[in-house]
Amino acid sequence: MTQKAGLVHYSGHQYLRTRLVLSILSGKAVRIDKIRSDDKNPGLRDFEISLLRLLEKVTNGTVVEISVTGTALLLKPGIISGGPIIHDCPLARSIGYFLEPVIMLAPFAKKPLQLTLRGITTDDNDLSADLIRTVTLPHLQLFGISDGLELRIKKRGAPPAGGGEVQFLCPIVKQVKTLNFAEPGKIKRIRGIAHAVRVNPQFSNRMIEATRSILNRYIPDIYLYSDVYKGDESGKSPGYALTLLAESTTSALHCSEAVSEPGIAPEDVALRATRALLAEINMGGCVDQKHQTMVLLMMVLGSEDVGRCRMGPPTLRTIQFLRDVRDFFGTSFKIVPAEPSNVDSSQLIYSCYGTGYVNANRTLA
């Protein structure tokens, strides 16, 4: 992690997305080498190349140089331009893989982004379109990014053939607000979306039944929605999934998701999602594990004041992200136990001094 003037250097293919995002936001070039250099099939994968192409579309003046073998890349960031963009995502990854980094960039664009992505809408690896719509975007609202923020799921696409389509609309902001979120509150409602495409539509209802069998004991305010997509809107492959989210009295969101697998009954898929939600609720905090990095990034970009947030222990990705943020922005977080007197509590308070990041792209317009 040597750092020369305006150039940050990493090795390896991991954590590529957040590093590219940090480079574009900070304006510092990033060089990544040894990308799968020991692998039988070395270099960047097709979906990573596609991500770089998408970032080129979202920005203006970005230069991407990839070595002949594909094992090294240099990205010199341009400005975030936004505007209407269409991108076909390769079927190796779901659209969540591509959308997650774009969500971190879009609020700081020159023009509001209207991005259409085509591909797989729900899979096991990345946030599904449902999770992004119902959980990720509300997290942006904590930072004052709200009016006109929307994700429309036009068509669903299950793996392997995909065929889904979503439209992401994001407003631009001058600056993001400082976060002060230390009170997790108590869970007051649970919402869920069950969808089933190109399979028996009863599968949605079977998932909902199974989930209720566990969750009904806790609170009455449970609404599980069976989302029906028919014909052309249901993509090219069969599949179903259940997305669950729990909201607390202080609007803390915890979410989980389970996706259909061959040979597994809809009831079992639903039970997996339900138990994962309980595990997530049990972990506590104000932000769930999947959204740690996004929230921490927005805290770094916040106005010049101390931002605080209570969360569970950092994940692998979060640990690396905290280090990478320091490389690009020089910001390190203070991380202390949330309840120093309670030895059983693993919750932590993350705090940092915001960099006062201003959307300079916007003022150029």
Binding site: H13, Q14, Y15, L16, R17, R36, D38, D39, G96, Y97, E100, D124, N125, D126, L127, K186, I187, K188, I214, R217, Y218, I219, P220, T249, E257, A258, L271, R272, T274, R275, A276, L278, A279, I281, N282, G284, Q289, K290, P313, P314, T315, L316, R317, I319, Q320, L322, R323, R326, S332, F333, K334, I335, P337, V343, L348
Partner: protein, 99 residues
């Protein structure tokens, strides 16, 4: 006090002042491991470095946001007592349990 120190990780030290990989930090990785690695780095005299076996044998790790659901983590929720144990986190539960 020493008891507490054993239980709690010093996250800031582990993240910012060691060169442990995130995997090492999250695995049992306590203070002792941090010291071990710091010592290893002292020996930069060796011209050649032997590649660690787990570096090579490790399969492709996807850059993914959703971590795989762990079966044993989910299994514990089949137990009724476990289900009851988090009732205080809901508005319908008693509030004096935690506070």
């Amino acid at each position: 006090l020493p008891h507490r120190r054993r239980r709690r990780k010093d996250w800031m030290k582990l993240i910012y002042s060691t060169s442990l990989t995130p995997e090492q930090i999250l695995s049992h990785g306590g203070e002792s491991e941090a010291e071990k690695v710091n010592q290893d780095e002292g020996d930069d005299d060796d011209f050649f470095r032997i590649k660690k076996k787990d570096d090579l044998s490790r399969g492709e790790e996807l850059d993914k946001t959703k971590e795989a659901l762990k079966e044993q983590d989910l299994k514990q929720w089949e137990d009724d007592d476990m289900l009851e144990s988090i009732r205080h986190l809901f508005i319908t539960g008693e509030s004096n349990l935690e506070e």
